[in-house]
Structures are given as C-alpha cells and as structure tokens.
C-alpha cells in the first residue's frame, strides 16, 4: 500500500469521524439572525405567508383540520423570534406534545420545510439566514415526525 493511498484512506476516515462528531452549525450571533430575518415585522410577514401556503396546501390540509390557525401563527412567530435570538418567549406546548396524534410523515415534514423556504424567498430573505433558521428548526424533526 503506497503512502499516498494510506493518506487518502486516512482522509476519508477523518472526514467520516468529523461528520459523526459535529452537529449542524449554530450561528454564533443569534441577534444577527433575528435582524437578518427582518426583526418582528419581517418574521410576521414570513410566518403569515408560511402559515397561509401550509394550511391551504392540498397535501397538508388534513393536518390542520383541528388547528386554530391564529394560535398557530402566534406560536410560530414567537418560536422563530426566540430561536433567532429576538426578544420573545415561545409559550406554546413542546414539539412532541403539539404533534401528538398527527402522525406527520417524513414527506410532510420535508414539504413544510420547503414551504418555509418558499415563504422566506418570497420575502427576499438571503440564503444564509434562510439556512440558519432551517438549521435551528431541523433538530425538531425527531420530535415531530410519526407522533
């Protein structure tokens, strides 16, 4: 086995190890993300659009059959605001509890992610802040899907 071959194999193993041990990067300056999303009014606009296209989407409508849309909107605004480092406190139920019995599929979860991306694009949020918000929400996947 040549030295180069050994080096390349070490590189791949090191890469795999790095992937195992690192989590999705969290923005170091959360206040900046809140501002990049447009602060209170920016987040309100994003959430308005997001909730509208989500609740009216034919593949998701059944999930929101028993949902009070106004309450959902308020909770999402608080949640996005708090997660992005803004001056808010999310006061809704935990993610596991609030999705109990909905049996959200992986496909439905991904569709919701895509609709949030679409809502942020509509409100001209740059790619970086879009990804940072999605990265903060992605860990909730396990608490939401198939509950």
């Amino acid at each position: 086995m040549t030295k180069f071959r050994r080096d390349m194999q070490c590189l791949v193993i090191a890469t795999a190890f790095t992937m195992l041990t690192s989590c999705s990067s969290v923005p170091s300056n959360k206040v900046a993300l809140y501002q990049q999303l447009g602060g209170d009014s920016g987040i309100e606009n994003i959430v308005d659009e997001f909730v509208y296209i989500m609740a009216t989407h034919p593949k998701l409508a059944s999930l929101f059959e028993f949902t009070d849309i106004e309450t959902l909107r308020g909770h999402l605004e608080d949640q996005f605001c708090e997660l992005s480092g803004g001056p808010c406190t999310y006061s809704g139920r935990g993610m596991i509890e609030s999705h109990e019995g909905m049996n959200v599929s992986h496909g439905e979860f991904n569709l919701v992610v895509e609709l949030l991306q679409q809502a942020m694009r509509t409100h001209r949020v740059p790619v970086g802040p879009q990804n940072r918000l999605i990265a903060l929400l992605a860990p909730m996947h396990e608490d939401v899907v198939h509950r």
Binding site: M8, C23, Q130, A135, A138
Partner: protein
Amino acid sequence: MMKRLPSLIAGLALCCLTAAASADGRLLGTGGATQLEGAAGGGLVPWAVLGGYATEDDYSVTVATTGVRSDDYDLNAFGASFSVKNKIEFSFMRQELDIGALSAPLGIDPNTQLKQDIAAVKLRLYGDLIYGRWPQFAVGVQHKKNTTFGIPSVAGARFDSGTDVYISATRLFIAGPFGRSLLVNGTLRSTSANQLGLLGFGGDKGERSLNAEFSTAVLLNHKAAIGFEYRQKPDNLSFAKEDDWFDLFGAYFFNKNVSAVLAWSHLGDIATLKDQRGMYLSIQGSYW
C-alpha cells in the same frame, strides 16, 4: 452524446409529463445525481443517498445519461435506478467507451468500443443525510460485466467481470460556511476493476484493492451546487498506468424531475494515452 439524444429526450419527456405529481418527498437535490456507475451520488463517487426523492412511504425511478469527452476518448453511459421506500436502490448502467485515438497504435478498427454493464444495489444502513445525529450510511455492491473483453484480456486483465463493494457516509450541514449548505461524502471501495472495469478486472500487478473516494459540495441556493470529487483508482495493469480521478462540478436541480451536472474532469493516463482531461455532462430525470 448525440447518439444518446433520443433516449435522453424520451426519458425527460416521461419525467416532465409526470412532473405535476411530485410536490413533496425529500428535499430538492437530496437524491444527488447519477454517478458514472449508475448509483445515486456525484459524478465519480457514489454517495449514501438513494436516487430520486422517495421517503419511507413511496418509490422512485430515475433515468440518466452521461457523456465524458476527454482529449482522446468519448465515454457514454446511460442507465436507470429504482429506489424503494428510501431504503434500497437498484440500478443499472451501460457504459460505452469510444477508444478513438487508441485504435491506431493498436491497429484496430477506429469504431471499436469497450463496453460494460453494471447492475448494482445500495442499501441504506443508518442515519440520515440531514436529520438526527448521524450521517447517512449505506453499503453498495456493483456487479460489472465487460462485454468486450478481447482488448482488456490482451492488455493483461484477468477477468471479464468483477464486483465492487463500497461503504459511504454522507451528511448535509444545512448552515455551513457563509450560511451555505455543505455536503460531505466519504466512500471506501473494494474493487478489482481497471478503469471502472472498461479494461477488465485484475491484472499482472494486482487484483483487489481498497480505494478511498471523497466528495464535497456547497449549495449556492436551493437549486444550484458546486463541488469537488476525488476518486482513488487501482493500478493493476503494467501495460499502462492508471491514475486517480478528480473533478470540479456544477449541478443544477431544475425541479425534482430534472437535474444536470456539468464537470471539468481530470482522468490522468488511460490505457497509455496521457493526461486525459475533459468535460463531463450528466442529465437525470426522476420520477418518484
């Protein structure tokens, strides 16, 4: 490439006709492209992801055509994959290499082609590309059959067929450097194939060896990515040195039905012809 145009158009037409059916599944781009041997991956390297956009509830089908134009060779490949419930991927790829400039020194018909068929399976083992703590792991088996073994056997290849076994780990970091999503893939492959198998399997210098492959890509936005791939290669034949491959690629996902990869590839020496570089173009249609 031109010869494959009819099949390409047919494939894309099939996919576009059914485009309206797909709105969810997995996130755009997470099925990767079709790599040279037919598995979901980058251009040169198979990744741990499965082709198409199926989640645990459904199936996906992809068709792909790939052309590589180096200084002295043309490689055309076309194939299809079928993935079940984001758990297992079956794929088939046919590769045809026009040996062009090599025919003169060998004193053979310039229209000679080297061909092989690759039937493959990839099993998703653990983890997920995006969610949860663990990267997605998959193990794959690619069985290759060279259907033009005359030339490879004269070159010193020992077998007309061979089986590659690989393990891949792939992860997408959603908010990577500069807030861009970063994909990282590592693959370890056990293979006896000479130049993918187009020059047969095994040789006077060796038979099976372990090779490392590496891919990384940055998603510029939700549709476009740029990246780099590196693939270590065996070197079994003393008649001609075989070099490692690498490429720089750009990928564009028009939607979940059509994607294209354009790459500048560096393929090194191939069957005595030096320093092959050229363009790589692959187009994939996907229906899930």
